[in-house]
């Protein structure tokens, strides 16, 4: 770990004035005088401790006033400040009532200890857990290198990796909470150095590896997430979430699925189905959504939707088990709605 200075940001403007780079930019091509943000610090300090990230200054945005509120309005929806901890989201009764899939996703993330320090903004902006990407001894595409170690059909250790959209990078996004947020059509509120605010749908917040190998989301230097906003549910909105892990106590997802539906009786009127740990970014399965919409929610239709979701799956040498795992998990998540 290198020596760095510490700046305690007093406001969003103050923070944006200080910062000059992002974790992603630095990992891709490190610069001399990088100043980066840290909120909960869970992901940032992992990189710093590994010696892969060598910031000259860290701007602590964790204590900026006003970013730590949860508010719910039945007409306007849910607003969660970017510095709200996962533990706070997980124990919020309104979120449990109105946004069950988010409640479930948050409470299956990491460990109770980590949920106490992890913030929502940091969680959706964290980098992926591919062990080659995280290794100082493997200079992969994501770090400006010349190859993907995980993809290699003979030597790649890719059992945890992507089965969809894996043409450029085969990592999977690390945030399982993002799976649920995207299913709820959440929006990310971002403020830039000029004080301008933009509201970006989750579907557009993440950047596929094919578009840009350096980044997993659209955040640029001198931009900061201030809020995540979820539209209000109707009285017919139902949701569910399942995460499959090797260890229930504490693990990253092998396959996770969030389903948000408008239902009429036992019929799906519209569906939002998102898969986590399937692709380099949270993956909206339009195929599954189309397959279940206007259908009765039953085992047969749920399975058909799940299979439709996997039609484009292209497993790697060691992760073909993920296909039946997703079929099972999508099916069960849809059935949990009814």
């Amino acid at each position: 770990m290198n020596k760095f200075s510490w700046y305690e940001a007093k406001s969003v403007e103050d923070a944006l004035e200080q910062v000059n780079s992002t974790v992603s930019d630095e990992l891709y091509q490190s610069s001399e005088n990088a100043t980066i943000f840290k909120s909960g610090g869970v992901d940032v300090f992992d990189w710093v401790k590994e010696g892969l990230l060598k910031p000259q200054m860290i701007v602590n945005i964790r204590n900026i006033p006003g970013l730590d509120k949860i508010s719910y309005d039945p007409k306007k929806g849910l607003r969660i400040g970017s510095n709200v901890t996962l533990a706070e989201i997980g124990s919020d009764p309104e979120i449990k009532n109105q946004y069950l899939a988010l409640h479930q996703a948050v409470n299956h993330a990491a460990t109770p200890q980590l949920r106490n320090v992890s913030t929502l903004g940091g969680n959706i902006a964290q980098r992926n857990r591919c062990w080659y990407f995280r290794s100082a001894d493997h200079n992969c595409y994501r770090k400006g290198g010349d190859r993907c170690f995980a993809r290699h059909s003979k030597t790649g250790e890719n059992e945890n990796h992507a089965i969809l959209d894996n043409g450029s990078c085969v990592s999977v996004h690390a945030s399982s909470i993002a799976t649920a947020l995207m299913a709820f059509n959440a929006n990310v509120v971002i403020v830039n150095a000029e004080g301008k605010q933009k509201t970006v749908p989750m579907d557009d917040f993440f950047v596929s590896a094919g578009e840009d190998m350096a980044m997993e989301n659209i955040l640029q230097a001198k931009e900061i997430i201030t809020e995540i906003v979820l539209p209000p549910p109707s009285k017919n909105t139902k949701s569910s979430y399942i995460k499959q892990v090797a260890r229930e106590s504490y693990d990253w997802s092998l396959a996770d699925v969030a389903v948000v539906m408008e239902v009429s009786g036992n019929t799906c009127k519209s569906a939002s189905i998102v898969l986590g740990a399937a692709a380099p970014v949270p993956y909206r399965s339009v195929e599954a959504q189309q397959a279940i919409e206007n259908k009765t929610i039953n085992s047969e239709n749920a399975t058909a939707a799940a299979k439709a979701a996997m039609a484009k799956a292209r497993p790697l040498s060691k992760n073909d088990y993920k296909v039946p795992l997703f079929v099972s998990t999508i099916t069960q998540t849809i059935l949990d709605i009814s």
Partner: protein, 781 residues
């Protein structure tokens, strides 16, 4: 030697308890009755150091802070195979706060020209190359990152099956020898054929070599089971990493070490630094786990010693988690071919075993003796090969070899039972002559509810339930070089001293129990001072030897000290000391109830400040199977597993384990349960979770951390119930043995058998994962 004859309890209470007459040395104490009739022994006694541990007051090696102490960090290779052309330390040297840098260099043998290579050849990622001592750990780490090592890289191989191929890169081009007996107790012999990376085979153990004629055996067989089993590399991951603090002054070198063998570390450090043993003191008061990987000073011990020598200051050197995974030991993998034959009535006619395993750049990757001895079979042969790879060296790991061996054998026996159309438990009744395992099967089956077991694959629904069983045996090893001093202080106070360390299982407490029982005192009246080589040398904590080796001399020394004290009391009362006894904190007369004196008063009669007696482990009553300390009998165990397998997702959950174990006379029920729990948890982990993932393209371990190297946490741990069977055999003054190894041997096999029972398809490889279950079920290709 003067002897006398005594009758000892013999057998299993509630089953076949009887008596056996033994001839024992006259100076040894009278026989203890069975545990029911004792006050402290065999009871649920709380650990004497529990409070220190749970309040964080216990001082572990990494907690040691000495005046002027420096912090050290090791320099390690980050390539798997190379010669080092140069190492540039100039930048590190000039970093403020750096006090010394020590590089590991080749020392030319006497009469040889200076070796052309200044530095040793790099054989694996994580190999130690040097170290830095600095004012802080942070500075030491920074200094390490400023050192440039220039490598000339060579072809490497980390995958065992690739390493076995004719054209594989060669790990060692000089002959090296293979150790016998799967890396644990046993002699070294030159089994080297020097062909490629394969060494061996080892074909014998201290239980002998091949038996009978395999071909005839298989010809006699009506049924044959022939399979290949695979197990993974499993790293130790003790909570406390390896490390030392070396404090070297003019008088002596003091080494605070996280070790399971203080005496061995002392001997190594004395030898390396050319010091008399009397001037090296190794101390290990509290120990955060070892599991077999902490028997030596490693490379970090000498490194800290050299840095202390260069700087004249104490040096702290504890490893980090990544270093642990890469370089401080692992349980080798295995690929075992096993063929067993039986007649229609189940009688075994032949067992053939051929194994390959890799301990990286180390040797000792065999699969143990379990196929040789668990079931008597007239025709038996094993060939156990070591395969060298460019990976960190293996180390003893809780029942070395035998855990791998049990995974194969106990599945093969299960499969044989099915082919013979016999219940797997009844089949073991038929072929296993062990009385203790018979009782364990009976008691275990009842508690477990074995009668619920359904035909394989017949469990209904998506999540299928399965029940399975696995057995094991472990020798009763005794370390004869085990000594202890017992002191009774004038005015009260009793103290035990030995270099034996408490690896964490409760050795301190059982020693206090033994002394308390003998003196009629409370456990808390006894001060246990162990883990210090300035005291008499005790055994290393390996091979499950500690309890069987150190408790008899502890009782004997206590008895000798007590005899001196009773003589003083007898003189005062003008009676014979044989008329006196000690109980409930008092010295009393057997027939004259008016003669009573507290223990404290009795000690006031002493002429000197203390009565001090040192005793060493004597031979077992009736002798040994092998004179070096292979005792008669064994530590038999039977474990039952209940699992749930989700046939849709492939996830396996171990719901429950019933573990039935024996260890001679049990000394402390709570500690035994705790130790069995630990063994079972590691077994569950071996079956389902832990796996060293090596990238064969780059030679690096990909999960050298605690989040991707998956040890089980609270939700992965099943309900564990233990059954401890008392088994008396009158072999020593305590008749007690350890449980460390046995607790870990059968678990993975029992789980694999339960998985088979659940889904009706057998898995021959661990860890069992969603991927392997879904493959077995034909859900992926």
């Amino acid at each position: 030697m003067d002897t006398r004859k005594e009758k000892f309890p013999y057998g299993i209470p509630g089953h076949n308890l009887g008596e056996v007459e033994r001839e024992i040395p006259v100076e040894e104490p009278p026989v203890w009755p069975i545990n029911d009739k004792l006050k402290v022994i065999g009871k649920r006694v709380a650990r004497i150091d529990a409070l220190e541990k749970v309040t964080g007051k216990a001082i572990y090696t990494s907690d040691i802070k000495l005046p002027g102490m420096l912090y050290a960090k090791m320099l390690r290779s980050n390539v798997p195979h190379a010669t080092i052309s140069s190492i540039d330390i100039s930048k590190a040297k000039s970093l403020p706060g750096v006090h010394a840098i020590h590089l590991i260099e080749n020392t030319p043998k006497e009469g040889e020209e200076n070796s052309s290579n200044k530095y040793p050849m790099v054989k694996y990622v994580g190999q130690p190359l040097g170290g830095v001592a600095a004012e802080s750990l942070e500075i030491a780490k920074d200094a390490i990152s400023l050192i440039t090592v220039n490598y000339e890289e060579k072809p490497f191989v980390v995958d065992m099956e690739r390493a076995m191929e004719i054209n594989a890169p060669i790990v060692f081009d000089t002959p090296i020898t293979q150790r016998q007996d799967g890396g644990d107790v046993g002699e070294t012999h030159d089994g080297s054929k020097g062909e490629g990376n394969v060494r061996g085979p080892s074909t014998s153990s201290f239980f002998g070599g091949p038996r009978g004629n395999l071909e005839e055996g298989f010809n006699e067989a009506d049924v044959i089971v022939e399979r290949t089993y695979r197990t993974q590399v499993h790293t130790h991951m003790p909570l406390e990493t390896h490390g030392v603090v070396v404090d070297w002054n003019a008088d002596a070198m003091t080494v605070y070490a996280s070790t399971q063998n203080t005496a061995a570390v002392r001997n190594e450090m004395a030898s390396i630094f050319n010091l008399p043993k009397s001037k090296v003191r190794v101390i290990c008061d509290f120990m955060g786990g070892g599991f077999g990987a902490k028997h030596s000073a490693g490379s970090f011990g000498p490194m800290a010693g050299n840095l202390a020598k260069k700087t004249g200051r104490p040096v702290w050197l504890m490893l980090d988690r990544q270093e642990e995974h890469l370089a401080e030991g692992n349980r080798p993998n295995s690929m075992q071919y096993l063929k067993i034959g039986a007649k229609k009535d189940g009688t075994l006619t032949g067992i053939q075993q051929r194994s390959h395993g890799t301990a990286g750049v180390g040797l000792g990757a065999g699969v143990g003796r379990i196929a040789q001895i668990l079931y008597p079979c007239p025709n038996f042969a094993t060939e156990q090969y070591d395969v060298l790879t460019n990976a960190g060296p293996g180390a003893a790991w809780r029942a070395p070899g035998n855990v791998q061996g049990a995974f194969g054998l106990e599945q093969a026996i299960d499969e044989m039972a099915e082919k013979l159309n016999v219940d797997p438990l009844s089949y073991r009744d038929r072929i296993d002559p062990s009385e203790v395992r018979k009782v364990e099967r009976q008691r275990g089956a009842e508690l477990f509810g074995w009668s619920r077991r359904q035909a394989p694959g017949s469990s209904k629904g998506l999540v299928k339930k399965g029940l399975g069983v696995g057995q094991s045996t472990w020798p009763r090893f005794v370390t004869l070089d085990s000594s202890v001093e017992v002191k009774i202080h004038k005015g009260g106070g009793v103290e035990i001293r030995s270099s034996v360390q408490d690896i964490g299982t409760g050795t301190k407490t059982i020693l206090a129990q033994v002394v308390a029982e003998e003196l009629g005192l409370q456990v808390n009246d006894i001060k246990v001072n162990i883990g210090d080589t300035f005291f008499p040398v005790g055994p290393g904590s390996g091979g499950s030897v500690v309890t069987g080796s150190i408790t008899p001399p502890t009782r004997n020394a206590t008895f000798e000290a007590k005899t001196v004290l009773l003589k003083l009391v007898a003189k005062k009362w003008e009676t014979d000391s044989s008329e006196l006894f000690m109980a409930d904190g008092q010295v009393s007369h057997k027939t004259n109830a008016s003669l009573k004196m507290s223990f404290k008063e009795a000690t006031q009669l002493m002429r000197t400040s203390q009565i001090s007696k040192i005793a060493s482990r004597s031979d077992d009553y009736g002798g040994f199977q092998q004179p070096w300390g292979l005792a008669y009998g064994d530590l038999g165990s039977v474990q039952f597993a209940e699992v749930s397998v989700n046939t849709d997702t492939g996830f396996v959950k171990v719901d429950r384990i019933v573990a039935a174990h024996s260890c001679g006379r049990p000394l402390n029920i709570g500690q035994l349960e705790s130790q069995i729990n630990g063994g079972v948890i590691q077994g569950v982990s071996y079956a389902l979770y832990e796996n060293r993932v090596m990238d064969i393209g780059t030679g690096h371990m990909m999960n050298a951390n605690v989040h991707q190297y998956k040890v089980p946490l609270s939700m992965e741990i099943p309900e564990i119930e233990t059954i401890i069977v008392e088994e008396y055999s009158g072999r020593s003054s305590t008749d007690a043995y350890g449980i460390g190894e046995p607790a870990n041997i059968a678990t993975a096999a029992a789980i694999a058998n339960a998985v088979y029972n659940a889904i009706g398809v057998r898995l021959y490889e661990i860890p069992i994962t969603p991927s392997s279950i879904l493959k077995a079920l034909g859900k992926v290709s």
